[in-house]
């Protein structure tokens, strides 16, 4: 068995509260010992990692990725997408269901999770909240949950019909998983390709309003309240990729009220604004779009004050020919797995003074909790040996030509990063070495 010793590192484990030097022994895919420095000097292992000067943290967890398999493997595959995840320090990813065909059945869920797909890190999935993600009839949540579903979503599309969204929240509450909602009132965003505002006006592009996002978030929060009151259930709403100050405020208030709402923010939404579109750069086109500076600042405020539960990438690979189109015709989305940690450390830790342990918590412990990943997102004896080892002081620039993803659609080519992954370990296997 490929046992691994990690010596001399700074263990940062938000769940146990440890932020200090520790040595770790990994065996049979689990953490078997965590000792004070020198405590494992007689232990033997096939691989030993000298982590002096490095942070040793729980492997990162991304609750929002698009791996494009089945159906669109020219953009990405489960194997390449999870290889990119490993390079970014992620050991668990949650695949969205907008594959071709849509992942809305036990058969497709099992097919995705089959070892033959070649996932490099642990692959979880949120199947579709409704059949075909058509927003009409909810899928079989019990059956899918038993097959491993960690939540349900029609990501890319919202569940627009209030009646259907209510049914989804009630059904998911019964089995203790979240409904993850892409909050966009698509009745208000037809023909839109970026954020509404002065930049959109200048570029002559139709803009998505703040209301289009906020109204769905506000409606869904109203549904949580209504279901708690009338059905005696406690549904869990997870709001995907929050991008507007108004939606953030609604979530903050709902949390104070005690409703079970969680949310994620993507690195691009706390790093860039719609100015990054520049001269119609389709690699700065995604949905929700890059917003105004006030919204970006509100994302950071939400991350700092605890309103935001996790950072998620919304890794959305697209082929070059698809992005080499007129801005309005190019598909939405950017890759993000390999740039998330570097951006979070640069913008949140170095820029805003967020402690590293808090960055780790937002990228491991808390996302793991949202989708109830037992034994992941934490490092203690008995937990899965999912780890990332990174140099927290390394300043570097991301180079897209070195990406593990099949696609290169990122606005961060050449962008400065802080913190470099030197090793990623998934269930005791070293899956990436930097």
């Amino acid at each position: 068995m490929s046992d691994v010793l990690i010596l001399n590192g700074r263990l940062v484990d938000p769940v146990s509260g440890i932020d200090d030097e520790r040595d770790l022994l990994l065996r049979h895919g689990r953490v078997t010992a965590i000792e004070m420095p020198g405590g494992l000097r007689f232990a033997k292992a096939k691989d030993t990692i000298d982590a002096a000067g490095m942070v040793v943290a729980p492997g990162l967890v991304d609750v929002h990725v698009h791996l494009r398999e089945p159906g669109q493997t020219y953009k990405e595959s489960i194997a390449t997408g999870t290889a990119a995840a490993a390079a970014g320090g992620f050991t668990s990813v949650v695949a969205m269901p907008n594959t071709v065909p849509v992942n809305d059945s036990v058969a497709s869920l099992k097919w995705m999770q089959d070892a033959a797909r070649g996932a490099v890190v642990k692959l979880f999935a949120m199947p579709a909240a409704t059949f075909g993600s058509m927003g009409e009839e909810i899928t079989d949540y019990h059956e899918l949950r038993d097959a491993g579903a960690v939540g349900f979503t029609d990501d890319g599309k919202p569940v627009l019909e209030t009646r259907v969204m209510r049914a989804a929240l009630v059904a998911a509450a019964g089995i203790g998983v979240p409904i993850s909602q892409h909050a966009e009132d698509t009745r208000l965003t037809g023909g839109c390709s970026m954020n509404a505002g002065p930049v959109a006006f200048r570029l002559g592009l139709r803009g998505m309003s703040v209301e289009a996002e906020a109204k769905i978030v506000e409606r869904d929060i109203g549904l949580l309240r209504d279901i708690e009151r009338h059905d005696g259930l406690r549904p869990h709403l997870h709001v995907q990729h929050v991008s507007t100050a108004r939606a953030m405020d609604a979530i903050r208030k709902a949390k104070r009220e005690g409703l079970h709402v969680t949310c994620e923010v993507a690195p691009h939404h706390f790093t860039l604004t719609d100015e990054a579109i520049g001269e119609y750069d389709t690699n700065a086109k995604m949905n929700p779009p890059l917003r105004a500076e006030a919204d970006r600042v509100a994302m950071i405020a939400g991350l700092m004050d605890g309103t935001v539960d996790c950072i998620a990438t919304d890794h959305a690979p697209h082929a070059l020919f698809e992005k080499e189109q007129e801005f309005e015709r190019a598909p939405n989305g950017i890759t993000g797995l390999e740039t998330a940690l570097g951006l979070a450390l640069r913008v949140l830790h170095k820029g805003e003074g967020m402690p590293i342990s808090r960055v780790i918590e937002l990228m491991s412990a808390q996302p793991a909790e949202i989708v109830s990943l037992d034994g992941r997102g934490r490092l203690s004896a008995g937990s899965f040996a999912d780890l990332v080892v990174f140099d927290p002081a390394a300043e570097w620039s991301f180079e897209v030509k070195k990406t593990r993803s099949k696609s290169k659609n990122t606005p961060f080519d050449g962008a400065p990063m802080l913190g470099r992954v030197v090793a990623t370990i998934s269930e005791g296997r070293i899956v990436f070495k930097g």
Binding site: G190, L203, G204, L205, Y280, E324, E328
Partner: protein
């Protein structure tokens, strides 16, 4: 994307032009106008220009085509109907095909904002933006500037500079939101010293329009805007068509719109009797503009079309590096 990624001589947005470059284009248009036709026909003799039109057009297409032909260039027209574009060929591949066939410059009209950037980047050829979606129509703004320079009283002679249009108030009225002409003019004219007043109802003129730059204001009351233009002594009123083809889900009471925003004889006489009346066309008589005004003594509408020819000649000479553009940095 940096400007340097595009071939010199491209014109994608008026924002890329320095005031000095604007002056050089206007000066070149002037000398091309007075040049003997035989001499003119030697300017681009043997050069190849492609017109790539994804949208219908009367004025701009004919104007660019005649401009190229009178300079001696060979032109070819490719339109989205009756070409492989109908079969799904991308803009990039269409551009590369035209380049392989020997096109040295592409004039592009396209319904998507920003399409000229994509074409210029993928082909490396000089691209002239002949109107892209709701974004820009740079040659129109240049020909509008030339029309003002020749028709307004008291414009200083000589090379154009940052104060040439000082004291000029230009009211642009109507469907600003969907108008690439409005954007190009609102970004160009203030840099020559003019004040631009945008006028229209909120659904057609969002407050975000103020972000176009300094020297641009919003005045929603058309009579007030006209009076400001009228009292300046050098007033211009530019009327825009409501672009039904781009209006999405907008409820507009046309009778109310006409009452508030139509330029008719009574309104012009009462508010700005000496103002120059302009319209980029196509115009809908009886809607945004009364026929009597379009045909009246203040109208410069046909001048605009005529000046367009020389502006486009100048842009082609610049794009193909064939003329006296010593002061142009490309």
């Amino acid at each position: 994307m940096k400007k340097s990624e595009y071939a010199g001589g491209s014109l994608l947005t008026v924002a890329d032009l320095t005031v000095d470059e604007v002056a050089a284009i206007l000066a070149a248009a002037g000398s091309l106008e007075t040049m003997h036709p035989v001499e003119r026909a030697r300017m681009l003799a043997g050069r190849r220009v492609a017109l790539l039109f994804y949208e219908s057009s009367t004025r701009t297409r004919t104007s660019f085509e005649l401009a190229a032909k009178s300079l001696g260039a060979t032109t070819t027209l490719v339109s989205d109907k009756s070409s492989s574009i109908e079969k799904g060929e991308s803009l990039k591949d269409t551009g590369l095909t035209l380049r392989a066939l020997g096109a040295e410059c592409i004039i592009l009209r396209h319904p998507n904002s920003g399409a000229p950037y994509l074409l210029a980047k993928s082909t490396g050829l000089p691209v002239l933006n002949a109107g892209d979606g709701m974004h820009e129509h740079p040659s129109q703004a240049l020909l509008d500037a030339r029309t003002m320079l020749t028709r307004l009283p008291g414009i200083p002679a000589g090379r154009v500079h940052a104060k040439t249009l000082e004291g000029v108030t230009v009211v642009i009225t109507g469907d600003i939101l969907h108008s690439r002409v409005a954007r190009s003019n609102a970004m160009l004219l203030p840099r020559l010293g003019a004040r631009v007043l945008l006028c229209g109802p909120v659904p057609l003129l969002p407050e975000h329009a103020l972000g176009l730059g300094s020297g641009v204001e919003i005045e929603r009351d058309f009579d007030k805007a006209l009076k400001r233009a009228g009292s300046s002594g050098k007033g211009v009123v530019m009327m825009l068509r409501i672009q039904r083809e781009r209006v999405v889900g907008l409820e507009l009471d046309l009778a109310d719109y006409i009452a508030r925003y139509q330029l008719n004889e009574e309104r012009l006489a009462a508010c700005a009797p000496n103002a120059l009346v302009m319209h980029p066309g196509p115009m809908i008589r009886g809607l945004e503009i009364a026929g009597e005004v379009a045909d009246g003594p203040n109208s410069a509408i046909e001048d605009q079309v005529r000046h367009g020819l020389f502006i486009r000649m100048a842009l082609l000479v610049r794009a193909l590096g064939a003329g006296e553009f010593e002061s142009v940095t490309v």
